[in-house]
């Protein structure tokens, strides 16, 4: 006799597929926000399932800071080709060149906040009415408040204190022209769930997540990769370490950790024993207690 209940990964998968199909049914012009990180790869994988045997019926959109890991771009291009979907790119460099945003100054300068303008520009230019993201509620305290369907006003802003209630599995994606929605199909997944699922489904991920030798610099309690964008401070020295990345963002702010985990199995084992949160290595979140909330209000991912 079979059991008539789902295990938790199957239930999370089913919920995410349901949300992706609702996006397709309720919006004219959705896109998947694709960063090349594991969460957006997971969302893309779930979209494949949701629409099988059709191909994913919307494009991937990448907000390109110009400060990329080359591996991420390669991975992105290969995936787009394999899926046969369109790729839209919003370029932070272009926004800087056009003078719409100004590069931050100083040692800790990043293009993280600058992405907001590019993201909102790309949404407007492509007439996107729903941008699907890989945000998870366990990541950060402001994200814990997110809806599956999250409204953004004419200016792309989020008003966390005035959100539409989401009851049962009924999603209200109604909006006026110029407004848009963010949809978060993997809201209820934790970092551990993501890795367990990637292992179970054997989903391809960029090699950066696996332990590898790399030139790095010790800064802000993590190993920052050496790249053309990194300015060394006096006293900082380049070392070659076996590291892996737990999250992937802009190459200038994503810190790696020393690790021997070079298979998915080993990553799952390593992550389950982690004592620090995932975003602990992200300098973008360390700026203040409400760094994420402030960026999100303005229209961040």
């Amino acid at each position: 006799m079979s059991k008539y209940y789902l295990n938790y990964l199957d239930e999370l998968e089913s919920e995410a597929i349901y949300i992706l199909r609702e996006v397709w049914a309720q919006f004219e012009n959705p896109v998947i926000l694709f960063s090349g990180g594991k969460d957006s790869i997971l969302v893309t994988h779930l979209a494949q399932k949701a629409f099988y045997p059709s191909k994913i019926p919307f494009p991937l959109m990448h907000v390109d800071t110009g400060h990329n890991f080359p591996e991420t771009i390669q991975f992105r291009d290969d995936l787009v080709k394999e899926l046969g979907v369109e790729l839209l790119v919003g370029s932070v460099q272009e926004a800087i060149d056009d003078g719409r945003v100004a590069e931050e100054k100083g040692k800790n300068a990043t293009r993280n906040t600058l992405q907001i303008t590019t993201l909102l520009d790309a949404i407007e230019k492509n007439k996107v009415d729903c941008a699907i993201g890989g945000g998870r509620r366990d990541e950060e305290k402001a994200r814990a408040k997110e809806r599956f369907f999250s409204h953004r006003d004419d200016f792309g802003q989020w008003d966390p204190k005035n959100q539409r209630p989401e009851l049962w599995n009924i999603l209200n994606g109604k909006h006026f022209e110029g407004e848009h929605f963010r949809a978060f199909p993997i809201s209820n997944w934790t970092e551990m769930d993501v890795w367990n699922y990637i292992l179970r489904e054997n989903i391809a991920i960029p090699s950066l997540y696996l332990a590898h030798q790399r030139d790095v610099v010790w800064r802000s309690n993590s190993w920052i990769p050496v790249s053309e964008f990194l300015k060394l401070d006096a006293g900082e020295k380049v070392e070659n370490k076996k590291i892996r990345f737990r999250t992937l963002g802009d190459i200038t702010i994503t810190g790696g950790l020393e690790s021997d985990a070079d298979t998915l199995e080993k990553i799952v084992a390593e992550v389950s024993a982690m004592k620090q949160t995932e975003r602990g290595n992200r300098t973008d979140d360390k700026r203040s207690e409400s760094a994420m909330e402030d960026r999100k209000r303005q229209g961040y991912f």
């Binding site: 079979s2 059991k3 008539y4 209940y5 789902l6 295990n7 938790y8 990964l9 199957d10 239930e11 999370l12 998968e13 089913s14 919920e15 597929i17 349901y18 199909r21 609702e22 397709w24 049914a25 494949q48 399932k49 949701a50 629409f51 099988y52 045997p53 059709s54 191909k55 509620r137 366990d138 305290k141 402001a142 814990a144 408040k145 966390p160 204190k161 959100q163 539409r164 209630p165 989401e166 009851l167 049962w168 599995n169 009924i170 209200n172 109604k174 909006h175 809201s187 551990m192 769930d193 367990n196 389950s272 982690m274 004592k275 620090q276 949160t277 602990g280 207690e289 409400s290 909330e293």
Partner: protein, 418 residues
């Protein structure tokens, strides 16, 4: 970790600022090791700055800046933890501002509700509100946590009195499974670990209860209902004639060969295949997301519902429902709204307010027909076209709906069909 067969349990916590709800959640997260070192460090620093002794567990549930500043919860927040037995999702709902809206939202998907009572105060108005909402939303399991037992010297009599108070007023409610627990969230008594201060209590601690609640029957497995979300027509090699109806099974079980009816059109057919990207299935059950193909080429689209020939939903255009009003803007008599019921969207109007409920006394108010923020009432609703409904008591998915304001697109109300 062997996690393959672990289930997901969603529970909601209702409580007011002072009854220790945040401390309880902090305690569950902390004792189940869902707190990371950097979070602990941040909370330790804040606790010190605020002049608290030790670590203030309640700070783990802080969210938005305004909430930190005011020391209150404004909106539902979701928390996660996993034990070797289950994955848990907590809908942490505030008990004061917009309480109906938040509690109803958290309750709508919950398998279990934790209702907190401060042992010093016993059953208060808010306890009654929480219990009423748990009953209205048909949360299958209710766990009444009598908290702060340390402040009443772990006195069994105090606990027993509160249990009988609760049982007395809740006899008017419809809750299937109620359990009681004495605890001290602050000290961790009966949260994860068994209390050594209350040997008179024979039951299991909270976490063990949550890990072992029987939740497989929480989903209706009898009435097969499949609301169609969208139609998949790949039109590519190997799938030229493929026409699959994509959706998430709301309840019941479907198998290839089942005699089905498409509602509301009434066309009959048989299930041909049930498909996923991993292949076809011998059977599929709620809450699985699948796509279904039929033997016959009939017209099916979003908003339709596939049901079994011998067990159909009711196609209704006028029906009674309990609704919770969420908006500052009061309901206008005979005003038109958009109703969303499963994937089906129609225009609707509130034809009549039958009565309002005083959720502190559970009595009916028949002479006041105005629906304002936080009101719960029984109404008669009329729709432009039929919706395929079951009673909420039998089916939380096909028995529920929301009303949307066409002028603002806000979700105005949640409804449960009676």
């Amino acid at each position: 970790m062997a996690i393959d067969n672990n289930q997901l349990l969603r529970f909601t916590t209702a409580g007011s600022v002072d009854d220790g709800k945040s401390t309880l959640i902090g305690r569950l997260l902390y004792d189940s090791k869902a707190i990371f070192e950097d979070q602990l460090e941040a909370v330790t620093v804040t606790s010190k700055r605020k002049g608290h002794e030790g670590v203030d567990l309640a700070l783990f549930t802080d969210g938005l800046r305004d909430e930190r500043e005011q020391g209150i919860t404004i909106d539902v927040a979701y928390r996660y933890f996993t034990t070797p037995k289950r994955k848990f999702i907590i809908a942490d709902t505030p008990g004061h501002i917009q309480y109906t809206r938040n509690m109803v939202t958290g309750a709508s998907t919950a398998n279990a509700a934790l209702i907190l009572i401060d042992a010093r105060h016993g059953v208060i108005e808010q306890t009654k509100r929480h219990a009423f909402i748990a009953s209205l939303l048909q949360i299958p399991h209710v766990i009444v946590c009598v908290n702060k037992m340390d402040l009443v010297k772990y006195d069994e009599t105090v606990y027993n009195n509160i249990v009988s108070q609760f049982e007395e007023f809740s006899s008017k409610l419809y809750v299937k499974d109620v359990r009681f627990l004495p605890m001290s969230a602050l000290d961790g008594d009966n949260v994860v670990n068994r209390s050594t201060n209350m040997n008179w209590f024979q039951g299991a601690p909270l976490l063990h209860t949550l890990e072992t609640l029987h939740i497989s029957s929480d989903v209706n497995k009898i009435d097969a209902r499949f609301p169609v979300q969208t139609v998949l027509r790949p039109q590519r090699d190997g799938f030229i004639d493929y026409r699959g109806y994509a959706g998430r099974i709301a309840s019941g079980i479907f198998r290839p060969g089942d005699d089905i009816v498409v509602m509301p059109s009434g066309f009959n057919s048989k299930v041909k295949t049930i498909d996923t990207d991993k292949g076809t299935l011998e059977e599929a059950f709620a809450p699985m997301s699948v796509s279904i193909t039929l033997e016959d080429d009939i017209d099916v689209s979003r908003g339709d519902m596939i049901v079994k020939l011998n067990n159909q939903a009711k196609a209704v255009q006028e029906f009674d429902a309990m609704i919770c009003w969420f908006n500052n803007k009061a309901a206008r008599p005979r005003a038109k709204y958009t109703i969303v019921h499963t994937s089906n969207e129609q225009k609707a109007m509130i034809k009549n307010v039958v009565y309002k409920i005083d959720i502190n006394t559970y009595s009916r108010i028949e002479n006041d027909k105005e629906l304002t923020m936080n009101d719960i009432s029984r109404v008669t609703i009329k729709t432009t076209r039929p919706i395929m409904a079951d009673e909420y008591r039998d089916n939380r998915i096909t028995g529920s709906f929301i009303l949307i304001d066409d002028a603002t697109h806000e979700t105005l109300a949640a409804g449960m069909i009676v």
